[in-house]
Symmetry: C2
Subunit: 647 residues, 2 copies
């Protein structure tokens, strides 16, 4: 592969970004190249994988840079990406890098890095990587920013040494304005703000976990109930929470503690989430950017009633009220601290949301606060370090050795040129059982778009349909379809070491080796398949031969990492964030808005009004098309019938 694909340093010029990949000759070259893969048997993976030189070229290993690992005080880690089982040759990769050059992919990446407003529809920079930067990291911003934004005048750290321990952290007011955008004066100001927020989280985490801060009943806290909307609040935090459950350090740090989520308005949801929580030892964290979102605030009120009603039943806290429950047992993550105070949450328990695009907000207080309270701040620092490690790799590694860039280019190749509409992520550990849902949200919401940055219609679909499941589970589920039915590229994820060793004495192989046998075998089986000739040689009866044949040529990537802990989880999250962004760059779309998601919510308001009206006044259903109208009538009539029976 040519050496010319180094990390670009081009300065951003947003006017050049209206380039659409389909307008470029490099796009046509790839289309023509892809044609061969439909017809040429030499390009079947069974044959491609026999070429040792090719396979060697299609592996890249990321080892944490020694300087970085000593700077951050962590052991170097390895991430191996083997993409030799993708339907590519060296030439394919060259053509993909050509396209990347032509669409100015590296310039776009640099623009994102330095805070250019690449989220053009919302006139906003994209700053999730900044959340992971170490203190005093030399960050340079490239503006220009809107000059009429309010600027913080007060030092964000001024409160740190003058106040008593329970108030050591700057309050929401002290650090407001709370949006990252509003701290975009220069790199150091921005980073300083982020680290002030981080330190506040560290302090409150220590106060809570040590028992210094206690509940209305005077008991130390052991549980966190997160109340927020599914999006940013739920998927990422839940996925990290389940991934670290059995990691020794995180397990130790969260022993006896519970972390639960209420992320929908489904009435069953709240009651399930709280079924094993003790209200007198539970903190409710309400996560809402505006603190006006109807669903979240409804659930926040339900949570407060749950606290107060249960506390009142206890000896010693009969005097529990909405006021003291809100003040002592409820936290907020919001950009509207006035509203959260109106709700009754204290200043010191309010943390800024930071106005990062929800699906990229895991490293902001949205994820950091509840996860720190549950797993401790040091564990979450390792997570941030892992994410930063992957950020450094993404921004600095040469393109041909750059894992997120390669994953992104392969995504574009598979979906736009080979025509795969879906892809799967298949981790070989149950600890990552919630990772596919996270990737689904991250990727489908970001890249499921219909127009380019300039608003012109795209000529091809963007955004794959992402799904996934734990490897040992799909082997007894939909692997059948992968082998003999529809094709879909897969990312297999495996680890060299298990999170914990649980081996039964006397077994030939460790549980982990058993598990990993499948991680190595499955991609091979998908690529190689099984021919009728091979089946005949096994002596299978004629009637069954064709039923047993597997065509192979199913593409996959294999990611092999050292061990799944907080650091690796940070790497993984950042890796998939960047993959998503890279694909958006190549396709020339805005991966950071989500106007499509608003439509259903707008429609629901009309339905809500109709139901409310009909329930109250018996008003007939009006203003809907025949389809919606009729079904709504059934729904409303049922309740009337039930009421009639009840008398």
């Amino acid at each position: 592969m040519s050496m010319r694909h180094n990390a670009g340093n081009g300065s951003a010029s947003s006017t050049s970004w209206v380039l659409k990949c389909t307008d470029l000759p490099q796009f046509d070259a790839l289309l023509a190249h892809a044609e061969r893969f439909y017809t040429d048997d030499k390009l079947h993976l069974r044959n491609l994988c026999k070429n040792s030189a090719r396979c060697t070229g299609l592996v890249t290993i990321h080892r944490t840079a020694p300087a970085l690992s000593s700077y951050m005080g962590i052991k170097p880690r390895t991430v191996i990406l083997d993409y030799s089982r993708q339907r590519v040759t060296g030439e394919t990769m060259e053509l993909l890098f050509d396209l990347a050059d032509a669409v100015k992919m590296t310039e776009r990446r640099e623009a994102m890095k330095s805070g250019v407003k690449i989220n053009t529809t919302e006139d906003s920079p994209v700053l999730h990587h900044v959340l992971r930067l170490p203190e005093n990291y030399p960050i340079v911003l490239q503006g220009p920013y809107n000059e009429d934004l309010p600027r913080p005048e007060r030092s964000t750290q001024r409160n740190r040494s003058r106040t008593p321990p329970t108030e050591t952290h700057a309050t929401a007011e002290a650090v407001s304005p709370t949006s990252l955008k509003q701290h975009l004066k220069d790199g150091p100001s921005l980073l300083n703000f982020i680290h002030t927020v981080r330190k506040n989280i560290q302090q409150i985490t220590e106060d809570i976990r040590s028992g210094k801060k206690r509940s209305v009943s005077g008991k130390p806290f052991d549980s966190i109930l997160c109340v927020g909307i599914s999006g940013g609040t739920y998927f990422g935090t839940n996925c990290v929470s389940s991934a670290l459950q059995m990691d020794p350090a995180a397990f130790e740090a969260s022993k006896g503690r519970k972390l639960r989520f209420v992320a929908t308005m489904d009435p069953v949801d709240f009651h399930q989430a709280t079924s094993d929580l003790n209200p007198s030892t539970t903190i409710v964290v309400v996560i809402s950017k505006t603190f006006t979102d109807a669903e979240t605030i409804l659930n926040a009120r339900t949570a407060r009633s749950w606290l107060v009603e249960n506390l009142k039943k206890e000896e010693g806290t009969k005097g529990a009220t909405e006021t003291n429950a809100s003040a002592l047992q409820m936290f907020a993550v919001t950009d509207n601290p006035i509203r959260s105070r109106q709700f009754g949450i204290s200043k010191e328990n309010t943390f800024p949301y930071l106005a990062i695009c929800g699906r990229f907000s895991l490293c902001s207080p949205v994820g950091l606060l509840p996860l720190s309270l549950h797993f401790s701040y040091p564990v979450m620092c390792d997570f941030l370090k892992g994410a930063h490690d992957m950020d450094e790799h993404f921004f600095n590694a040469p393109l041909y050795d750059n894992i997120p860039v390669l994953l992104g280019l392969l995504g574009v190749w598979n979906s736009t040129f080979l025509g795969y509409s879906c892809r799967a992520v298949v981790p070989y550990t149950r600890a990552l059982r919630d990772f596919p849902a996270y990737v689904q949200k991250l990727d489908m919401e970001s890249n499921g778009k219909r127009v380019a940055l300039d608003g012109t219609l795209l000529l091809h679909p963007t955004g794959e349909i992402n799904l996934g499941e734990v490897g040992t589970t799909i082997q007894h589920s939909w692997i059948q379809l992968l082998h003999q039915g529809r094709e879909m590229p897969v990312d297999f994820i495996g680890f060299m070491e298990p999170q914990q060793h649980f081996d039964v004495p006397g077994e030939a192989l460790s549980h982990h080796d058993e598990l990993m046998s499948h991680f190595f075998a499955q991609p091979d089986a998908l690529a190689t398949g099984k021919t009728v000739v091979e089946i005949i040689q096994e002596g299978v009866s004629e009637k069954l031969r064709e039923h047993q044949a597997c065509p192979g040529n199913r593409p996959s990537s294999s990611l092999l990492m050292t061990r799944l802990d907080a650091y690796a989880m940070g790497q993984l999250i950042a890796m998939y964030e960047h993959r998503t962004v890279i694909q958006g760059f190549i396709w020339g779309i805005n991966s950071f808005d989500r106007y499509g998601a608003d439509l259903g919510i707008a429609f629901s308001k009309k339905v809500r009004a109709q139901i409310s009206n009909s329930r109250k006044t018996g008003a007939s259903v009006q203003g809907f098309d025949a389809s919606t109208g009729r079904l709504l009538e059934h729904y409303l009539a049922h309740r009337k019938e039930v009421d009639k029976i009840k008398g």
Copy 2:
């Protein structure tokens, strides 16, 4: 719609089944018809849904037949299928019924019903619907069956009245042979056998739940640990378990009880599943057809060690041994009772697996035993009744009013004629959070095939890629992609009543009405979309208009049911089983084998041997392609490195 589409009564003639739908003129007619949907704006859902007559015709309501509901002692229930938001017209449906006639769909359905060996590659009938039949139901079998199958000589019920209570149920031996196929003498014999097994489950359930049967420590049981393979054992049982958790009757019946699964060889899995179980009150149910499957038996041994080691630590059970732990606290569901007895599980605690295709086995002891132990037998009887209700509907309702048939035909239309490769199931209740994974397994393993029944290659892909998520969750996740990115048909599922009423006083609408607003709005928004003209009318700036536009024309079906309880869950499971089967009938494939899934398992054996060999003797990696070989070397080298550091 014409009335000629009544339930067929044609007798099966398997020779006629080699008909491939692509050979038929009815297939070509549908292809030509589908063309219009790509170009004709009159066929945009926005326009189709304005036609009230069309919408009325594309709704069907299933109400449990009065005779059936009084026979089974249940309240009649309603299931409404509204498919007016599918991209179909009356003509489309006519053409689909024509194709169904031409491929002899009703004859195939009848053949399945009466036990013809429609699983031709495995020479086996398909009998999951028989598991739900009431006692003495007039079932007629159509053979012929292999005459050299062993026949049960002894009456399967002879033990019922002569033995003391703890042994009232026929033992595994008494009811063996254990495979349904072996009881295919005639309908009554088969059904008699099934009901004997059911009664045994009922008896043991009562003995366990009443505390009559107790653990080694003399304590009554409160927890069930299911050990088995992901496939049949896990997905269905888990999905029913989470669906009923908050149903009042099931909730009451399972209060203080736990049901856990170990379905993979992932070492983390077992430890997570048992982390909150008390070994002296836990029954381990080992589910394995052959009782030789390596993964299951390894986990069964791990479970036994866990029982014995923990029991030994307790006062009073220091004498716990493998023998008494296996005999008193382990159950088996297997077709190999000799092996399970060798393992140490008693005859009376061994239940027949019944050799039903795994993904259709939920109503066999595989699901029935653990779910009855957890939720009680009466609750699971309601589940079986609901499934039977849907079976009766499926086998008897006219095709144009037959919900599983309509769902199946729409599946074929969307995937084969409109070209959608994926579809989603989106329930508007968190109780159904595990239902999409169940459907994924059921459908993708059944219909992801490459050849027709006669072994000739299919000319089109079969089997959609199925995904899904709770409605309130996708609204903040991948709904963006549905509106503005790739298209995918959706089945929305909603309920007229919530499982439980949890309303906050003073709120305008109940939580359930709030939730259901979205159920009604989302399909409408997907179908209608939002045009640039409408956006201009809202005064949106030019720059943003195209970014906010949603093309609409996204198809969906809405299923509205009375309430989610055990009965409804039985209906739902059977509905999706039959949908899957119908699509297989139309496509002319065998939905009941899964040869493709075996390939990866075969490949893993080679990897396993290599890892074992290399670990023991340091043997170098050999016999793999360059791709697998290299990655395996990395894996093996890592452990060596770790060992070196450890010294």
